[in-house]
């Protein structure tokens, strides 16, 4: 059986575009990353070898013949398969990522903003300007706990709307624009710009941003992942009430050079359905503002994170796929990496830069992955403590 124990950087020239593949064995499969669409494929190790050979320019007929002999199969069958691989990987159509970047050159950043907020994050002061209460509403609730009086600021973030699009400018540089129904990408870019300023790292220095909650025991951090409604934020609030630190909620950045989890200062969103659980631990929630996202039928309040050092960053000890199920007994077990990989990737932003993709694959392979199902909060907290102490 063939195994690739190291990354193989494969390059091919197709339509004058350099396409790079990374191959990384994980468990009993190979993960193939393609720079063409920043896409990850989980494939068999033998298939990875065939793609590798095709990329090196080895004739498909030779590859088919060898495969036919190896597997004792008719040459026609193996030739069809190898040709399919060639078509998919070596001679694909135009990339989806080759769309032209949007043109922002005719957009004029307004001079006047009726809504202004100032946020203090460690020693950094951000002035956030909005052209309406509606645009302010997209950002402010999560950062309200950082609000300070008007003062000298380090950076000015400007949000405005034109022609049914939301625009973001930092200082006077336009960062991008998004149609109204893609406002979550606007919020994501806003947060990305914030972490660049807080941690002094440009976008290419980040490995990825994960849709997760991150907690720490002050030495290491763990990521809690799961579909919306599985209890990521609630478990984060429970854990921070029991001695753990909140590193980030909903938007967890990981740096490429150190693969450490970096702090993100947004508040923890608490759904109405979690209030009864959290009110005894956080009496302040009873008086906090409530935001009613009517279409989503989601009513949330925001809970200030207990970590006030938003410059912190810690190594990641593992990934925990958490699930709250009413009346379920506690269960926590290690899961195989390919299963975890399939859950992780579609919900994450991963850097499209090849060096970062290589680091991501290595980093992921080094992590332990767990699935934790619970209904009893005390048991869940005790179980997470055990995970931090390697006592599963």
């Amino acid at each position: 059986m063939f195994y690739l124990w190291f990354f193989v950087f494969l390059t091919l020239f197709n339509l004058n575009i350099q396409v790079i593949f990374l191959l990384k064995p994980i468990d009993d499969k190979t993960v193939l990353w393609s720079s063409r669409d920043n896409q990850y494929l989980v494939i068999e190790n033998t298939t990875a070898l065939l793609v590798s050979k095709l990329s090196k320019g080895i004739d498909f007929e030779d590859i088919s013949r060898e495969l036919s002999q190896e597997m004792s199969l008719p040459i026609k069958e193996t030739t069809d398969f190898v040709l399919d691989l060639k078509k998919r990987f070596i001679d694909p159509g135009p990339s989806k990522l080759l769309n032209k970047p949007e043109s922002l050159k005719d957009v004029v950043v307004p001079n006047h903003f009726p809504v202004e907020k100032f946020y203090k994050i460690n020693e950094l002061v951000i002035k956030a300007c909005f052209d309406s209460q509606e645009s302010c509403f997209l950002i402010h609730p999560k950062f309200e706990h950082l609000e300070v009086e008007s003062q000298k600021h380090d950076y000015c973030f400007k949000t405005f709307t034109q022609d049914a699009r939301i625009f973001l400018a930092v200082e006077d540089t336009l960062i991008g624009s998004w149609p109204f129904d893609e406002f979550h990408y606007f919020q994501g870019k806003y947060s990305m710009q914030l972490i660049q300023k807080i941690h002094k790292k440009q976008e290419d220095k980040w490995l990825g941003v994960f849709h997760a909650s991150a907690v720490s025991d002050k030495k290491n951090a763990m990521l809690f992942l799961g579909d919306s409604g599985n209890g990521k934020s609630t478990s984060l609030a429970l854990l921070q009430a029991h001695g753990f630190d909140c590193i980030a909620d909903d938007f967890v950045p990981v740096a490429a050079h150190s693969q450490e989890i970096y702090s993100f200062p947004a508040a923890i969103s608490v759904k109405k359905t979690s209030l009864d659980t959290l009110l005894p631990l956080y009496p302040e929630l009873s008086d906090s503002k409530e935001y009613d996202f009517k279409v989503a039928q989601k009513i949330v309040r925001y809970l200030k994170p207990n970590n006030s050092d938003f410059s912190s960053h810690l190594p990641c000890k593992g990934l925990v796929f958490i699930k709250y199920i009413k009346d379920a007994p506690l269960s926590c077990e290690k899961i195989d990496k390919i299963t975890a990989f399939q859950k992780l990737v579609p919900d994450s932003w991963l850097s499209p830069i090849k060096e970062n993709a290589a680091i991501f694959l290595d980093w992921f392979d080094s992590l332990d992955c767990f699935e934790l199902t619970y209904s009893n909060n005390t048991e869940m907290v005790a179980q997470v403590s055990k995970l931090f102490r390697d006592e599963l």
Binding site: Y40, I43, T161, F183, P346, D347
Partner: protein
């Protein structure tokens, strides 16, 4: 009337048939691929469609300030 014809056994033995089936199963597995696309950009979770700024913008989120007297 149907005739009960026996399949000639001289072409392939049971052992060979099993071996061949195994080869085909392994070969079919080679074509199994799981395609995973990360998010196209950084995103934050939020209400799926707040109707922000649109013609029917009364569906956008509402802040309820319980502290206000």
């Amino acid at each position: 009337m149907l005739e009960n014809k026996e399949t000639p056994s001289k072409d392939i033995t049971r052992k060979d048939a099993l071996k061949k089936m195994g080869s085909y199963a392994a070969f079919a597995a080679l074509g199994t691929m799981i395609m995973l696309n990360p998010q196209k950009a950084q995103a934050q979770s939020g209400p799926p469609n707040p109707g922000f700024g649109g013609p029917n913008s009364n569906v956008r989120g509402v802040r309820i300030d319980r502290n206000k007297k």
